[in-house]
């Protein structure tokens, strides 16, 4: 047969080339990613006429063809109301001087002292970029800037994540650095300096020799001007390391474990918080002019470590149960446990109802004192900030997601309750009759709308 002796491959190859060199695409491939806009407004109202916060947030995201992703978030906070100044309630009306030095506010008998001038505006911008680094790994870069009346913060972070095991396992690591600057009205108060009687004007005196007296528990607070000697700003730097592990266990279960270490150095003290000095037997707070209130002092360093684990369980028909636990400890002596459970119940028509429960409990920092005894030596560090006290908090919430128009609307309602040691064992004298850590309730309402275009 002729064909068997013929070398046809060259001619065949050429014919195939002609055949396949057709003007290709018949269909059209739409790959351009869409912008997603996520907007929300949150209202936080504390019981007892305390803090009210209003927080609108806009988040804009885009996923590009190569699966790169850009997220930008703008948050505006506006806080008003009364915030505890750290002093203890006592058996008389207490008068305090604002940090500006020229103004006063009072707390009634037995009431927890609140600074009713608490008012702040915060705006912050977060930018996050993520892109494929290789076939199975992703690189992320991020930064934030936030600005308040008396506080600024800027930070950057970068991370890398890698998928293994047919993408069932993901390991990630990221590092971040943040620089904070605090510049309270009236300057940064010197640690353990006494709250001065309001001057009613801006007169200063030049006395600056309080260093020797600082450690003297019996010093009187009449020798220190409020504004002089004060630095206008204080700084803090935070370094963070996050290691993450995510494992798909099976079609229904996913587990995530994160380890976070953060080390901060610099000014951690709250410049607005004071501690009451009380008589060691009567428990009565010393008068303002007798050095009744000392500005607090916290260590210059803090090392925090936390371990977080999350289990996601897909229940039938797209409903998901999330259960997480976080343990945190720091070298200030705070240990905290956070447990969160959320059930996303997928109903018909893409509606989702998500009830959630959160329980938080922490131990006090080593240097937490609800007040200081006037006859005792002032410790190296002391703060009466309730956030460093032992307390527990419960949050009950429900979120409802409803497809609406071109997007999705979400409504969230949460109730928060905080309980601490209202009548601590180390209370003295009249303190035993007073509630030193009143319960706090807050209501959180959030309304959001997300859409793409």
């Amino acid at each position: 047969m002729q064909l068997t002796r013929k070398k046809i491959r060259g001619s065949l190859g050429a014919a195939v080339c002609t055949l396949l060199a057709a003007p290709v695409v018949e269909g059209k491939l739409a790959t351009d990613g869409q912008w997603t806009i996520d907007s929300a407004a949150l209202l936080y109202v504390e019981g007892g006429g305390r803090v009210v916060a209003f927080e609108p947030v806009v988040k804009v995201s885009k996923v590009y063809d190569d699966s790169s992703r850009l997220d930008m978030q703008l948050t505006l906070d506006s806080l008003t109301g009364s915030s505890p100044n750290g002093a203890s309630p006592t058996n008389r009306v207490q008068t305090f001087t604002r940090s500006s030095g020229s103004d006063q506010y009072v707390a009634q008998v037995g009431e927890i002292p609140l600074d009713n001038s608490f008012r702040d505006q915060r705006s912050s911008l977060n930018i996050h970029w993520e892109e494929p680094w290789s076939r199975l790994s992703r690189l992320s870069l991020g930064g934030h800037f936030s600005d308040e009346f008396d506080f600024q913060s800027v930070g950057v972070q970068t991370g890398l994540s890698h998928d293994f095991n047919q993408r069932n396992t993901t390991l990630s690591a990221s590092i971040g650095i943040e620089a904070d600057r605090i510049f309270p009205d009236g300057g940064v108060p010197e640690a353990f300096s006494v709250m001065k009687v309001a001057t009613g004007d801006d007169d200063d005196d030049d006395d600056d020799d309080d260093d020797d007296k600082k450690d003297d528990p019996k010093f009187k607070g009449d020798d220190d001007g409020i504004k002089n000697n004060r630095q206008s700003s204080a700084y803090k730097t935070v370094y963070e390391l996050l290691l993450g592990f995510t494992q798909v266990l099976n079609r229904k279960m996913l587990i995530q474990v994160n380890y976070l270490m953060s080390e901060s150095t610099g000014y951690h003290t709250d410049p607005f918080k004071v501690l009451s000095r009380v008589d060691a037997t009567s428990g009565e707070t010393l008068l303002l002019e007798n050095g009744g209130y000392l500005y607090e002092k916290r260590p210059e360093e803090r090392l925090k470590q936390s371990l977080f684990s999350l289990l996601k369980y897909h229940v039938a028909s797209h409903s998901v149960m999330d259960t997480s636990y976080r343990y945190l400890r720091d070298d200030w002596g705070v240990r905290s446990h956070t447990m969160v459970m959320q059930y996303n119940w997928q109903m018909g028509d893409n509606q989702v109802v998500s009830p959630s429960f959160r329980y938080y409990v922490q131990s006090a920092a080593d240097f937490y004192h609800h007040s200081l005894l006037a006859n005792e030596r002032i410790p190296d560090f002391a703060s009466s900030d309730v956030r460093l006290a032992a307390f527990n908090a419960t949050t009950l919430g429900v979120k409802y997601t409803l497809p609406l128009g071109v997007g999705v609307m979400t409504t969230r309602l949460s109730w928060y309750q905080q309980k601490g040691e209202s009548f601590p064992a180390d209370a003295v004298g009249i303190q035993k009759e007073l509630e030193l850590f009143p319960d706090l309730d807050a209501l959180i309402v959030q309304l959001g709308y997300r859409f793409s275009w």
Partner: protein, 295 residues
């Protein structure tokens, strides 16, 4: 026909499984994420189904049906069909009439179901005048099919589809590699990340051993079907018919697999080698290709 595409993530690549052209098919493709993989896969499979729909001889009222029912009148074909007809003509000439897209009507009398039902010459002879590419008037883009004649592009459509889809994926995702497998006819596209190869297992003739090939480009095709034959009086009749006589070619290998620069080229070489009967290996040796011949 099932229109399901099942996508799974294999770690280094994604795998899409679907049915087309009466065969199980799969496309392996690299992609940066599942979302894009799914988009590209859908795009690719849609193209396979489009070609199937257009050229399947089993469908009524598709494009091929219209050509085959043009009742002797001139029919002006589109660019894609014209290229396929040009290619068919080239193969007809090159094979000296052995490869003939007009020979499909022999299936009216030959049914390779493993039985001993051998048609007689009386039923075959009337079909022969209706076979022969040279009787068809083809001047791109006009075709005139004499009354009673049909064309069947089944001999190239599947391989063509595989190559085309590989090229399509390559144009959409030039940085990623893909492997298109339409019922055993395989085309590779793009370059794999890290210059990896695709590993393809080829069964040995007895089906017990598997040889693993590492391929990074080109195509692989198999012709022949070990289950399609007739057996009468101890004589095995293969399903490879000589369009010139209407009878099966003798001593045809049961199956031939060829590796070449494209799936279409591999498919044609495999088909032509079967048409060479007992000379199949000789033919393939001339072509300087890797092949696996099962007798």
């Amino acid at each position: 026909m099932s229109k399901d595409i099942i996508l799974t993530d294999k770690g280094t690549h994604f795998c899409g499984v679907f049915r087309a052209m009466n065969s199980p098919c799969e496309i392996l493709l690299e992609a940066p994420n599942e979302n894009l993989a799914s988009q590209w896969l859908k795009f690719a499979v849609t193209e396979v189904w489009r070609i199937e729909q257009k050229f399947s001889r089993y469908l009524l009222d598709n494009y091929l049906y219209q050509i085959n029912h043009s009742d002797g009148k001139p029919f002006y074909v589109d660019v894609e069909t014209a290229k396929l007809l040009d290619f068919a003509e080239h193969c007809y000439r090159m094979s000296e009439g052995l490869f003939d897209v007009s020979s499909g009507i022999l299936r009216k009398v030959w049914c390779f179901d493993g039985s001993d039902h051998i048609p007689d010459q009386v039923s075959i002879a009337p079909l022969l005048p209706r076979i022969g590419w040279h009787k068809i008037s083809w001047h791109n883009p006009r075709i005139i099919l004499p009354m009673g004649m049909e064309i069947d592009l089944g001999g190239v459509a599947k391989e063509y589809a595989a190559d085309r889809v590989a090229l399509l994926l390559q144009s959409v995702a030039p940085k990623y590699g893909c492997l298109v497998n339409l019922g055993g006819d395989i085309a590779l596209g793009g370059v794999r990340c890290n210059d990896d190869c695709w590993r393809i297992g080829i069964e040995s003739p007895d089906g017990r051993e598997t040889e693993e090939l590492s391929l990074s480009a080109g195509g692989l095709a198999t012709s022949g079907d070990v289950h399609r034959y007739l057996l009468k009086d101890g004589k095995r009749y293969s399903h490879i018919l000589d369009p010139r006589t209407g009878w099966p070619i003798e001593q045809v290998p049961r199956s031939v697999t060829v590796m070449a620069n494209s799936c279409t080229e591999a498919g044609l070489l495999a088909t032509l080698s079967l048409l060479c009967g007992r000379e199949a290996e000789n033919f393939l040796d001339q072509q300087d290709v890797r092949y696996w011949c099962l007798r």
